[in-house]
């Protein structure tokens, strides 16, 4: 058991730090949930990719450095410590790419991953439907077989990044009247500007169009954009969902950096005693999350599956993130009400944490049933 990094890992950290120091914009980019900000963040992705920093853990063939999980964690620590921009390509990198690595064809990977790595193609996710949220298997959008491909129809919602993104991926019902609702689903990718697609932006609490409704009317998707076997989409997607809740959605570096900034804010505000416990808990929580992740990564490298433990991770970070940002707003005093401080948009973003990527209620059910072995109830 040790926490020491190798000399090579130290050199990698130093190289990342130095690159970030030279490249991170000195003033924050505009919010990525605006048209202007989206473009600026896309350009930043290209800048990262130019020096192979956008997907460090991917194979070199697709734009990465094949650097492994530990260096990815190191990179993320440096990335957020450098206050580098949010990653507009995260849906693709964290959700779609792992699915392609696990279930895609070589042709799909070669075609899709490099433009994802460079920010040329930005991906939106298209999971939820109005009547299928936590109960994702109940979705009804259809994929109907046609010559050389499929025709998609129906409605998707809470499609994050969709207002400005290029393409999307999701599950569609390709067989009706199956024995169980999660059978007969197919995992497809489609173009958000294809004929038949209508994107209706939806504004988040702070008014920014962070997601969209997608209306699909006989949208053609060629066979080459099916991932895995038709009808096996649930299985294909669940490996993505497990990943989504796992190590990569929120890297420890993000919270270590946020806790540092919170501690700094507390000191700037005169180190008020009444807030000390909450600031200390934020600092401690970031360290706990880092070490929990190191342990999970070590197990993963030993070949152990992560599985339901990802649910522990999801509940922890999402509640931690809100508590940290609430503490920051409270430290700001009357300024904490303002919507344009450095803490305002991250606070609004954090509020979504317990809802998306599997609500925390669903996660607690999973923890109780799969990790603790409690009986399934009717909830």
């Amino acid at each position: 058991m040790d926490l020491a990094f190798t000399q090579e890992e130290g050199a990698f950290r130093a190289e990342a730090r130095s690159w970030l120091h030279a490249h991170v914009p000195s003033t924050p980019l505009p919010s990525l949930e605006t048209e202007e900000g989206f473009a600026a963040h896309r350009a930043w992705e290209a800048e990262l990719a130019a020096d192979r920093w956008s997907v460090v853990d991917w194979p070199a063939a697709y734009g990465g450095r094949d650097c492994g999980l530990v260096r990815w964690l190191i990179f993320e620590e440096e990335y957020y410590a450098a206050a580098a921009p949010a990653r507009v390509s995260q849906n693709g990198i964290h959700l779609l790419a792992p699915t392609l690595f696990a279930h895609g064809t070589e042709e799909q990977r070669a075609r899709i991953l490099p433009p994802m790595a460079s920010g040329h193609t930005i991906w939106a996710q298209a999971w939820s439907e109005p009547a299928a949220g936590s109960d994702l298997a109940s979705l009804t959008s259809r994929a109907v077989r046609t010559d050389g491909g499929w025709l998609l129809s129906g409605q998707k919602t809470w499609s994050s990044r969709a207002p400005f993104a290029d393409r999307a991926f999701g599950l569609f019902r390709s067989e009706q009247h199956t024995a169980k609702p999660h059978q007969g689903l197919t995992y497809l990718m489609f173009d958000l500007r294809a004929p038949g697609v209508t994107v209706r932006p939806i504004a988040r609490l702070d008014g920014k169009p962070a997601f969209a409704e997608l209306f699909l009317d006989d949208v053609f998707v060629p066979d080459e954009d099916v991932i895995g076997e038709p009808g096996q989409g649930w299985h294909v997607a669940m490996s993505t969902a497990a990943n989504e809740r796992g190590l990569t959605l929120r890297s420890p570096g993000r919270f270590l950096a946020a806790a540092d900034r919170l501690h700094q804010l507390w000191r700037t505000q005169g180190s008020p005693h009444a807030m000390r416990s909450r600031v200390a808990d934020a600092v401690i929580g970031a360290r706990a999350y880092q070490l929990f992740t190191y342990a999970a990564a070590s197990r993963f490298l030993d070949g152990e599956p992560l599985g339901a433990e990802a649910s522990l991770n999801k509940v922890f970070w999402s509640e931690y993130d809100i508590a940290l940002h609430e503490t920051a707003l409270d430290l700001l005093g009357p300024e904490g009400e303002l919507a344009d401080t450095a803490w305002s948009e991250p606070y609004v973003f954090a509020l979504a944490g317990p809802i998306y990527a599997g609500t925390n209620e669903i996660q607690r059910d999973i923890i109780a049933e799969r990790l603790l072995g409690l009986p399934k109830g009717r909830r």
Binding site: S128, A131, G133, S134, D135, S138, T157, W158, I202, A203, R204, L205, D206, G207, F211, P272, A274, M275, L329, D330, G333, P334, G336, E337, L338, A339, D340, S344, Y347, V348, L351, A352, P354, I355, Y356, T359, N360, E361, R364, R378, R379
Partner: protein, 318 residues
Amino acid sequence: MRFLLDPEQHAFAASLNGLLTAADTPSVIRDWSRGDHSGGRALWSRIAEAGVFALAVPEEYDGLGARPVELAVAFVELGRYAVPGPLVETVAAAALFTEPALAKRFLPSLAAGGTMATLAPMDSQYALDGDAATTHLSLTPDGLRLAPGPATPARPSLDPARRLTPLLPGGELLSPTPPTEQALTWARLATAAQALGVGEALLDRTVAYVRQRTQFGVPIGSFQAVKHRLADTKIALEFARPLVFGAALTMSPADVAAAKVTACEAAYAAARTALQLHGAIGYTAECDLSLWLTKARALRGAWGSPDECRDVVLSARA
């Protein structure tokens, strides 16, 4: 001791409730957020006609006398409908105009709804809705000033219906020794009552939502985790309510501070629960729920943070 609203107070609440139900406040709020104050001004007049501002004005200045209990009744309803505008600030202004000359000059119009006053507290550079207000007041180290107007631009609040405006410096010195503490007490009482109404609206809307939203073939309101979270919301609001009305009866700064922190924490907790149980739909600006969610957060810090209020409670016992 009879710690229940009288029939007249119930009737007053019901009539305000009817007025506000008819007013379609969500569209008024959305217009107000965009800087279109016409609907909000019209609503302001109707609220004034119902006598709300007169409850903070002595009878000799065309008011109904200082009636904090009725004022609290009114502000619960204003919060329940998330009515926009410097409502609390106008009440606080009324409490500042105790000197006869000022009272005569400002109060009749304030009671009648002709004055929409805003006020920058001592510890803040911002006044609420200065772009809409007709009277801009600053509490400065010199005393109470009539500011020349709002400075632009306003800063946005996390609650889009609250526009925080710096005030232009200078202006007429109205009083070197305004009754600041009294105004703060009235402001906190009104904020506490407003927060209680906001919290109750959040609970009601969420209960209605979880009864009709189904997942896994049943209403999500039948899941025990959902039920217990809403039960906790109900408990917090039901124990905040008597503090608000008890404070209105005593008007002691400590009682009012206790009501403020408790009602605002209960409302913010209700907001967190409402958001979680609505799921993604609750996170959108287009869902009316957002009008209450964001207000709950803003009121929590307005006119005294939770920690400041707790300090007042303990200091009063020292």
